[in-house]
Amino acid sequence: MIQAIETKDSYVALCESAIDARRTAAEPAWLRSIRRGAAERFRALGFPTTRDDEWRYTNVSRIADTPFEIATHNDSSLAFERIERFALTDVTACRLTFVNGRFDAGLSKLDGLPDGVTVCNLAAAMDTHAPLLESHLAQHADCDGQAFVALNTALFEDGAFVHVPKGVVVETPIHVLFATTPQSPAAMTSPRMLIVTEANSRVTIVESYVGLDTGACFTNAVTEIVAGEDSAIDHYKLERENDEAYHIATFQVDHQRGSDVASHCISLGGILVRNDINAFLDGEGCECLLNGLYLADGTQHIDNHLRVDHAKPHCNSREFFKGILAGKGRGIFSGKIMVRKDAQQTDAKQSNKSLLLSPDALVESKPQLEILADDVKCTHGATIGQVNEEQMFYLRTRGLSEDAARTLLVYAFAREIIAGVRIPALRTLLDELVLAKLPQGGSLDVSE
């Protein structure tokens, strides 16, 4: 117990020194006060333990017990060649790159955007969009009860800001790349994103996290999305951290009336990954799609924790998460659908399917419904299985070896999620990444 307090204290000290450092950096008073509040929340909450119901299957003591330092940024910019394979140059026109939590202008490319659209780092937006930031930054992802959100809010140095004005359609995807280079002693970064879309606008955003080398590191990210009335947002989160990384990410989307948000969360890297995905449907007629795909092998632990909160009537939500667990990999899915008293005519569906490829792989699936309205349609389901033997035999009678048949079927399982990705070049990339993680995957030709 004493140790737990001590480890938490090292993070509390980080928060204090970060707040002190920013006082001299002339951060606006409203943000300083939010940070102070967040630091207080973190001090009061501490790191969650497995006694906490929301963290029952994910033990973060390995994070709490490591005295991570704030990552430092090497002054000389990384060579573009080092991030090129992560840059999605054929997918996106506009790229914001952060290295170890700090904006790297040299690795970013901000042209080709329609007039009025803002894509920049948060520090720059403090000057250009102060009122918008004040009304939205840290106003959506809640520090209460979410220790990692509180920690990020106290510590984040910079991040991405996207603003799409009323009626504007951004055709090409915007890519926000958070790259980490492990440091000694081990370091943490606190990436932050704020996306605000005004009425009737449309935008596609790819948020990716990549680890450039091996070595322990800790990413604690928070993304807030405010989806304006009748706006449409297509969001992709692609997690490709290195195999020793701890990756905790909170995604909060607040829906206004008639907004349509589709988010895909793909988790491939990291030793311990937790995604908290929260949607708040606070207007009538919203569409919310939350899809996910996660592949855990070795001793990877990937936890997806969803909460969809229907506060207003006539909204549809869909959650479809698929996990492939090999080696001693662990996959956790916990999905809660809340339908408040006024949210009549809610249509909510949730499904979690897991494929176990080894006897030592483990999966926990916990769907939950909490319904207070009486005129709603809600379904949820979970399946856990192995590769279908009938399908295996069919493929093998056509000449495919046991390995090739299994690879093809596992890929097909993942393909259902990949097929929902609306950016063709991103689909191709995901095909490659998924196959690269499957035994024998390299030999499978999946060209569309």
Partner: protein, 256 residues
């Protein structure tokens, strides 16, 4: 080509095949008929290599090789093809991806080069015409959402693409209307040739009007109880299988 000797096979300790003997030579078409539960599909699946059945006795030789020692995919590569009675749906696997994987696995086994996309498409389009199948199905997942008839036609299409030495058709006619039956039969007949053998498992004579067999065998209770020419099928169509039960009695009376 195929030699089955005293084959016994069980599932969950229950013996289904009780001593099958059958020789099929290149160029021949054999039909296997028999009542429900007589072991026809089991025989087909055992030849293809389904491991839910345990072979307890006997052997199967294919071109002199011990077939039972081979994996299902090795048997396919050697030239055995089973058109399934109930083809499975495989969501997420496109038909073209599946066929290309299958063709290239077999070509590799034969020491041939893998097909490029152009040659693959040319072969597939030609064979699709043969069985009157829309080549747009190639972009669909294998058998997913196909009607019963489409699934059966897709089996014959795969057979045409893979060009096996020995094709076993397990009740390919069931669930087909008369037009589809003709298309399937025509596809099979186009594949008949001196170097290829076909085993047609069916309940009905109507398939055999179109694919005329050289030999007809009646399977009953895990054994071949009667073999003959194509006229045997006509006889079965008229008489049904009730004579099977009386046969031993008739035999006895004839002996005395």
């Amino acid at each position: 080509m195929l030699e089955i000797r005293n084959l016994h096979a069980s599932v969950d300790g229950h013996e289904v095949l009780k001593g099958i003997n059958l020789t099929v030579n290149a160029g021949e078409v054999h039909s296997i008929m028999g009542p429900n539960g007589s072991g026809k599909s089991t025989l087909a699946l055992v030849i293809a290599g389904r491991d839910t059945f345990e072979v307890t006795e006997g052997e199967i030789l294919f071109e002199g090789k011990d077939l039972l020692a081979l994996e299902p995919n090795e048997r396919a590569c050697e030239g055995i093809f089973l058109a399934f009675q109930y083809p499975v749906e495989i969501p997420g696997v496109s038909s073209s991806q599946f066929l290309k994987s299958a063709m290239n696995a077999i070509r590799k086994h034969r020491g041939e080069d893998e097909l490029d996309a152009y040659d693959f498409l040319a072969i597939v389009k030609e064979k699709a015409k043969l069985v009157n199948i829309d080549d747009r199905l190639l972009s669909r997942a294998v058998n997913e959402g196909f009607s019963g008839g489409e699934k059966k036609r897709n089996e014959i299409f795969q057979m045409a693409v893979l060009e096996p030495k020995l094709a076993i058709l397990d009740e390919t006619d069931s669930g087909l209307d008369i037009d589809a039956l003709k298309v399937v039969a025509n596809g099979v007949n186009r594949l008949r040739g001196p170097e290829r053998a076909i085993i047609v498992i069916t309940h009905y004579q109507r398939m055999l009007n179109h694919i005329v067999p050289d030999f007809v065998h009646v399977l009953s209770d895990g054994k071949i109880v009667k073999s003959g020419g194509k006229e045997l099928a006509l006889h079965l169509e008229e008489e049904g299988y009730s004579w099977l039960k009386e046969a031993p009695a008739a035999h006895t009376s004839a002996a005395t």
